[in-house]
């Protein structure tokens, strides 16, 4: 019998190494194996024979693990990101290529900055095009990494080409607000354009869309970390060089744009290759900030409901609330990407629900007052963009709240929430594209 235990342990260790399976899955499969062995032994087979047959019946570990990974796409994602590891040749290529893309983005950004004389001259074309100096390289990096086919390359290039044409051919009024709206929304449009090569063209797959949401969240964390480190580096550089009579500001002007552009690509590469590190960070960040935001939102909602809005709010307020909704949505998405969809509702889900409902209550109060205001003052490009974004976010969170309410009441599963969010990504992309494409002509490029 000892020999059998040894063989089972060995088989189990092999299973544990396959990334699609977690500890409980392995336990479940082991119990299955033991049941099968018991039955075969009872039917008269020797233990070692029974073991061989039972293992064979369970199927090849690779195939089974692949099937598990396909079902738990979150695990599969980690798999995709890490595959190729242990292949030294691939490793050396893997950091060289993103580095080239990062350098290219940095050089293009710097060249454009010099041509525009930024920041001394605030040329508006530079602001409008800023995203186009960087994100095409990110898209190119993923297109190469995923090995897109030629026809897919064309589809991947199209949104960049179209927006480059539009942004530069539209007769924008210098320093008009539509210019700034385009500068603010084009990065979002192009980010969704990056989704195409990132997902190797499988835009319809909800699982892959969820991967892109995960990627975006992790990318943001890495980018913030890089920015933080870069800030410290710059601060110390300035502090050291200023006494020596070097014009530190000129250095900043050179280094900052290049650093920021390069960091976009480097952060993406870090997400791709150093997945495991962040994996533990996103859930922790969500755990810390979701309750804090929930408390803040509930208090704010109570204060607003008690004191009323009065004349205390101005045009900026809608922008602030857009930001708030984006943050709440971000928390929802982070929470979602970090959680195991099969889990029962827990206290984190409840806190998140409270945060979403409080944010909704707040936003509805502001929105109601704002719509009255706009009725009086008329539409401007800024108000239209802010209001539109607010409504787009509101619809998303209302349905999210409804679905998570059902989930918490155990009348539904987590699955519809995920589906709703991944489906809604198209609406976000469409809205950002509308602001870039439709709003400027609508307000005669003012």
């Amino acid at each position: 019998m000892d020999q059998l235990e040894l063989e089972i342990a060995e088989w189990r260790a092999h299973l544990e190494r396959s990334p699609g399976l977690n500890g409980r899955d392995v336990e479940e499969l082991e119990m299955h194996l033991r049941d099968q062995i018991d039955d075969l032994v009872a039917a008269g087979l020797a233990a070692d024979e029974a073991f061989i047959i039972a293992v064979k019946r369970l199927g090849s570990i690779d195939e089974v693990s692949q099937e598990f990974a396909r079902e738990h796409s979150g695990r599969l994602w980690k798999q995709l990101v890490l595959s190729g590891e242990g292949d030294p040749q691939a490793t050396s290529h893997r950091w060289l290529e993103p580095l080239l893309f990062a350098v290219a983005a940095a050089v293009v950004t710097q060249g454009a900055r010099l041509a525009a004389g930024f920041p001394d001259d605030q040329e508006s074309w530079f602001l409008r095009n800023a995203a186009l100096f960087v994100l095409p390289f990110l898209a190119g990096y993923f297109a190469r990494r995923r090995g897109l086919a030629t026809s897919q390359w064309l589809v991947a290039v199209a949104p960049f080409a179209v927006s480059a044409l539009l942004v530069n051919l539209y007769p924008f009024v210098e320093d008009g607000s539509t210019t700034f709206l385009v500068a603010a929304h084009l990065p979002a449009v192009l980010w969704f354009a990056v989704a195409y090569p990132y997902m190797s063209g499988t835009l319809r797959s909800h699982e892959r869309r969820m991967d892109f949401v995960r990627f975006t969240g992790e990318w943001f964390i890495y980018f913030a970390l890089l920015a933080l480190g870069g800030g410290v580096l710059m601060g110390i550089t300035v502090a050291i060089l200023t006494p020596a009579g070097v014009d530190a500001e000129a250095i900043m002007e050179w280094v900052l744009p290049m650093g920021a552009a390069g960091a976009v690509i480097v952060a993406a590469w870090l997400v791709e290759s150093k997945q495991r590190v962040i994996e533990n960070m996103a859930p922790v960040l969500t755990m810390v900030f979701t309750p804090l935001f929930a408390v803040m939102l509930v208090i704010a909602a109570i204060v607003y409901a008690a004191t009323g809005l009065g004349g205390a709010f101005d045009r900026e307020l809608l922008g602030v609330f857009d930001l708030l909704m984006v943050v709440v949505l971000g928390l929802v998405l982070y929470g979602m990407s970090a959680r195991d969809p099969g889990q029962q509702p827990g206290w984190m889900d409840r806190i998140q629900f409270v945060a979403v409902v409080a944010a909704l209550a707040l936003d509805l109060m502001v929105l109601g007052a704002m719509i009255v205001r706009i009725g009086d003052l008329g539409f401007t490009p800024n108000r239209t963009a802010a209001l539109g974004l607010n409504i787009v976010l509101l619809v998303n969170l209302v349905v999210t709240a409804w679905l998570s309410g059902r989930f918490l009441a155990r009348r539904g599963t987590f699955h519809p929430i995920e589906r709703w969010q991944t489906g809604y990504l198209a609406v976000f992309a469409l809205w950002a594209a509308t602001v870039v494409v439709v709003l400027p002509p609508l307000f005669s490029f003012a």
Binding site: R24, D25, E27, E28, L29, M31, H32, R34, D35, Q36, A46, D48, E49, I52, I53, K56, R57, L58, G59, I61, E63, V64, E67, F68, R70, E71, H72, P341, G342, G412, T413, F414, H415
Partner: protein, 134 residues
Amino acid sequence: MYLVVICLLLLAKEGWLDIDKDLVAASATPLVLTILEEGESYGYAILKRVRELSNGEMEWTDGMLYPLLHRLHRLGLVTHDWRLSPEGRRRRYYAITDEGRAALEEHKRQWVAVARTLRDAWGGALPTLASGSP
């Protein structure tokens, strides 16, 4: 010793009607849901029941059952929890939910429609199989 095993495997293989892989995959969900409708169960027992119901004609790779069960759980068609079995073994028991029953009804509707169509196409009766099950 190993020869015996191989012979056993070959022997077991013979006489099986190999049902097409796609058909097995398509029928897996309704089959599992039906078995769970009879009462809660765990993976190994579900597979034994599949063999019993199909007279061994439907052969699954055992390991593939679990990803399927997890998918059904994610879609809210079944629930699961870990319990100690009477034999003292920790097992994950699966039970069907109301949504699972509704999904099963839908599956049944579709399969009956398919079966009826084929039966009509074959002249009103299911043909007897040339090489039947043992």
